[in-house]
Assembly symmetry: none
Homo-oligomer: 215 residues x 4
DNA sequence: GATGAATGAGGTTTCATTCAT
DNA sequence: GATGAATGAAACCTCATTCAT
């Protein structure tokens, strides 16, 4: 009753106070990352000004630079942070070996597709795609911690499917990334054609159907 | 103060036309577009300076501005021009109705895939993807003159395939863009992972195989 | 919340005084001055950051500002302090009236020259020379407490020398600062040409020799 | 009578025009160097803002950067230019071998001393002294093109004087820079004690008198 | 017609200083 | 008393754009 949401108010209201606080640091960090991610998403790297990030986070410019020494560092920091949650998602293998490979694929990948939109993974990916050439190290990290594991898993499944005869072609063994192409397509598509969005799950379902629903 | 040398711009070249030497102009245009395209490809919109375009084209900055009044205009002009050749490619339907849909698809789309790399269509697409949000009108043009016709054609083929029983699923009818996802994947992939390039045709072949080579 | 420990600042040390532990304070002062002097020497006024001074002194920025309210105050405080030891050195007149003026000059000034390097007087002088225009009050103090007394003493000696016939010229009476020029030269020289240092004493000796070893 | 100082007016009046001119470039260059030198003299390197230089020169910031890509480059450029005139002065040896070494020294060095003030050589020297540590390359140039030749010449004269018996001491042979110390003293002195300026020539005369007028 | 010198808004970054804890 | 997170004025530098020649 008294003022339980006291600090929340302050965060919103752009507190002019400059005091220190033992745990405020973490909150400031969070505010920065959140603001920066949002702005980088909509404006890209070049299109985002440091002062906008600061204002969006309710901070002064200088504060930003206490946490990230350059705009590049901010960008990388934000993306690496965002990448962390992606990796966490991936670490829920959740692969029940019961059922056909088709089932397993659906179970394993579809949730990720569905998650692309709800979480900001699609935005993250779009950012990496768009700004990748400027941040090769970021791309390398992404490749190592996200892409390679996923491709390996898909390849393994593809081999099983081939072994079990559920798939005739070896194409998926050689090009496991094909399985991700519907997701990629939806990300790019939705980034360009704002008035005609595609559901990644729907696209993925269609893709699976195309592959398996034959005979 | 007086204006007696009104026709001074004619003096340079042939007397006939009133405009600036049309041949020279066209060549300069070409040089600009070529230089700008190349630079936009490697540096993106923000990363390309007008003076670099001018120098690359062997011109002065002022001259560049005679042809394109702003950097935006230059970018759009360049992309629209590049788009033109894409459209030309598309207008060779070349669809021989003989053979299975699979054959037709291969015949129709695979050359385009193979062409992605050789011509600079992949680069063009990457540019549109990257800078699209900043140039919505460009995206609209691309959608209208390239994407829609292609998707329509694919859809038509997909309907035929379904009708003929060559494909069981209706997925491709609803989501014809799926047929383009291997190409898109290779474009994005090659833009990010410079040390492990994917051949669009190979990816497309694998995709077709995955769909059709069943049981 | 409660305030019963109003005297908490006493608790740290002896009960008697009310002020902040005087010993601690003095030590902190010393640390600050030492750190700041060192940094001002190598970086000049503009080139020295307050945070570096604080860190070098093992303090927080805020603490630094408790002792010196501005960077200017710190600079002046440091230099005035350093000036103090110079003055002390000067107050050992040590002028034994026995022997020639040449002897007395050597005895009186040479130790000071030799001291220039060992102590940081050369650095101090260089700082005053370099930053003087920004701190006129400092220069005035230096002029009053160091320069004038020294010049007076030299002048007195020069008059004696003239009276005794040890020097023919009256130049040194009118321009007593000439006697300091070898020291100044070495300070400036050593500040510029780090790889070819000059010993102030050697230069001073040469100067004296030049003046007196004639006939 | 008509308007002979026509262009001078424009220079003063901060011409807003942006036009190009084949020879205006040199004038702009001159304006920049002049303005920058003046400001660097009074404010030092750190104390001079690029925008002030631009305004003082009647130019926009950007124009400054067309001519000098960084503040450091501007500083070095200005000093090197100023150094040029110093070197020119030195190249009038003007040493008439008639008369005593004392005469020659007076003839050779005194004009330079007298020139220190009138031209801006004293200011130049003060700048080099003050900012030297930040611009070692500049110091090296100065050492090579100005200092070494001068010291060599002095040394040669000192040897002659010794050989002729005009000087008993070898001090000047080993430390030829002593001959410059009165000049240096006056430069430093005048920079610090604005209300009690010393004439370099007077100081130099006194110095010479001290050395030669003996017995 | 072509040119490039000139411009200045706008962006990044630094750092002296404050003050809540 | 001490601390360092927060602040924002101010400095450097870039580059799209203009226009006199």
């Amino acid at each position: 009753m008294e003022n339980e949401c006291n600090h929340e108010h302050q965060a919103q209201k752009q507190r002019r106070g400059r005091g220190l606080s033992p745990a405020k640091t973490a909150e400031t960090q969070t505010r920065i990352v959140k603001a920066a991610f949002q702005l980088f998403i909509s404006g890209g790297f070049e299109g985002t000004r440091m002062i906008d990030v600061a204002q969006q986070a309710g901070l002064g410019k200088g504060t930003l630079y206490r946490y990230y020494p350059t705009k590049e560092a901010l960008f990388e920091g934000v993306l690496v942070q965002a990448l962390g949650s992606t990796v966490q998602t991936l670490q829920n293998p959740n692969l029940e070996p019961t059922g056909s490979i088709e089932e397993i694929l659906r179970q394993a990948i579809r949730p990720f597709m569905a998650d692309l939109q709800k979480s900001h993974k699609a935005d993250l990916l779009r950012l990496i795609i768009t700004e990748g050439p400027r941040f090769p190290s970021l791309v390398a990290v992404y490749q190592r911690v996200v892409l390679e594991p996923v491709l390996s898993a898909i390849q393994t499944l593809a081999k099983q499917a081939k072994a079990r005869g559920e798939i005739k072609s070896e194409a998926l063994i050689e090009y496991p990334m094909l399985m991700l192409s519907p997701g990629l397509l939806s990300i790019i598509w939705n980034g360009l054609f704002l008035d005609r969005q595609l559901q990644p799950e729907a696209l993925f379902d269609a893709f699976i159907e195309l592959i398996f629903v034959q005979s």
